[in-house]
Subunit: 429 residues, 2 copies
Amino acid sequence: MSNAIPAGYKPQTSETLPDYLAIKLPAAIKLGGTPDQWQVTEVGDGNLNMVFIVKGLAKTIVVKQALPWLRAGGEGWPLSLTRAGFEYNALCHEAQFAGHKLVPEVYFYDQEMALFAMEYLTPHVILRKELIAGKKFTNLAYDVGTFIARTLFHTSDIGMPADKKKALTAKFALNHELCKITEDLIFTEPYYPAERNNWTSPQLDADVKKVWNDTQMIQVAMRYKFKFMTEAQALLHGDLHSGSIMVTQSDTKIIDPEFGFMGPMAFDIGNYIGNLLLAFFSRPGWDATAQACEEYQHWLIGQMEETWSVFVTHFRQLWNQKTQGEAWPVEIYQQCPDNDLAHDAREIAQDQFFETLFEDTLVNAGMEMNRRIIGFAGVADFKLIDDADLRAQCERRALAMARELIVNASLFENISSVGQFVLKGKYEY
Amino acid sequence: MSNAIPAGYKPQTSETLPDYLAIKLPAAIKLGGTPDQWQVTEVGDGNLNMVFIVKGLAKTIVVKQALPWLRAGGEGWPLSLTRAGFEYNALCHEAQFAGHKLVPEVYFYDQEMALFAMEYLTPHVILRKELIAGKKFTNLAYDVGTFIARTLFHTSDIGMPADKKKALTAKFALNHELCKITEDLIFTEPYYPAERNNWTSPQLDADVKKVWNDTQMIQVAMRYKFKFMTEAQALLHGDLHSGSIMVTQSDTKIIDPEFGFMGPMAFDIGNYIGNLLLAFFSRPGWDATAQACEEYQHWLIGQMEETWSVFVTHFRQLWNQKTQGEAWPVEIYQQCPDNDLAHDAREIAQDQFFETLFEDTLVNAGMEMNRRIIGFAGVADFKLIDDADLRAQCERRALAMARELIVNASLFENISSVGQFVLKGKYEY
């Protein structure tokens, strides 16, 4: 995949798309009616792409096309079209391991046009919107926890043969442009006076300055930047926040893995947990009463705890049943003459693995919180709170918690301790 | 690069090589005389390749060709030819960063023939041979320490731009077959009754069984296997033992990087230190007197300490001068408004980095020692000791030290503590 714009590439519009699809859409996907009867709406609200909903008489699909620049940044921030291919490939791998219950189906991919067509999700709504609205979802923690467990396990050296895993590493190492966005926006810019930073000013000015002078936190942040750049543990979604999840009361779909690459497992889990905590701290801006706020905050903490525990349970189960994957290999842990010893040893190995992963997850959660408050790309949970003083108050508490997670990650015994700590609110920054 | 044998591939022999070279050798490399006057000797004593010395009237060169199987394993252990390309590429990168003072020059590479021609090193001798003979080399520690520092620094995210580093990761992730040899022979087989294991029997039978039941050590070994498989920190040599180094009294050349890939820095350093320690423990099999033994052992410990300290000093210096490389970025550590703070912070970041690296290095050294005594590929330092009882005695002490390094790595304060511990010999297994 080259960074040059392919000769046949042209940005689609609502007008050009039907004729293009009439030629390109696989015969099995029948929209119904003729192209002039298809209604096209451009709905992209993300930063990187054009997203069209194409409604035929019988069926509706979504078409996503990469633009040769970062959309939010305008033409001044060029970005190669290859990311459509990485997203397409990541969606395929995720579907292979987590299934279409959790991942939308892709109908076709056109490399030259940096475009793919996929399942239209209805009546799904972006999770972040629903969290802001204070809605609850019964299956959410189970679905997200199993998605993370399955995609990470099966693309790691624990669950995948070494040669296949290294082929994934090779393929996704080329997604360096999107990795760099993460490296810059999450792991670097919030920690110094970078131009693109964007916080609630002047209310948080002093707090942000404090971050820039917090050598202790910055040292941890930089160690985790290095880990992000070097630990090729599993195929990450790479952007697993509440804006990359669509939900109904009974269904959960994980979308938008264009940041997919082989990285540290803790990044995906930490990203999601960080966003649950951002939602938590934004509640005073959204709930009408203190009681409603407290009640929903408890639900969010429950989500954090359940997602982690579903993840661990599911990952451990896959590990116990594994027949391949050369890390913690079956020769040593499953086929040892003394089976009880092997069983104990495996459990201890897993405990050690999850202990490290837990600490790394907390740090990554804190990093996500910091960057959403200080860095370039904020979250609606805070940004849409109109009262800037109230917003800053919420954000200040989130920053304080983020610091705890980054600097004192090793002091939290388990996910419940984190939940209790957040609920007790005993942190100052 | 594909795993299939290219149509034009054919194993060269001493008879066919001159005619092949007459056509392929770049004009600038003038062997002198006519092809029928060139003397060809096959000298490969490694496991993986054919190595020819081609002596013309004016100049001598070395030609190395990969065979489609692992040489020591015979045709029953197939191995793809692509490794010649990885070795060629690794040699080029190493020369770029460490210079031709430390890395042999390559004249040309023929992908189809899985062959390259390179500088003939004379009067260089393989370091392992010289260590067995009890020879000392003034520049060795400095040369090896700077080689490791330069190649690792400049191919890591600390010293190389992120996109270029990820391109290296992508390229070398495809060297999975040689990685698997390491994963199997170093990180797995010594820790269970694998068929290929090969130890001094029956003398060490009980010791080896102890290793297989040493759950505590095996857990650490498996964590480091995972690190080896996932930590894409820098372009490793991948096989940096005393058999991959050629020396004269004044010159050091690092050869044979066919195991090159993006892995944990501690692996290369640990490998080399592990081999110095193997040499240390083999001395009773080689030295005529206790005094000679002690004296040479002290020299070896000095080599270990100096190599590490040269490495750290040199790596730190490169880091202090860095202008690129997005880990521990200059924006935060060099261009901060308060320069003194930035300087202190950088030093602390480096201290933390080297602390982790040191612990990981010791574990990797221990892993190398174990595998050379228990696993498939032994070392001449021990194997050539004819008296099996004496050999086993040496090996037993090496195993005990290896266990200390693996299980108690974090207890060693610095490299001198390791040296003192080895010299005091207070370890039992």
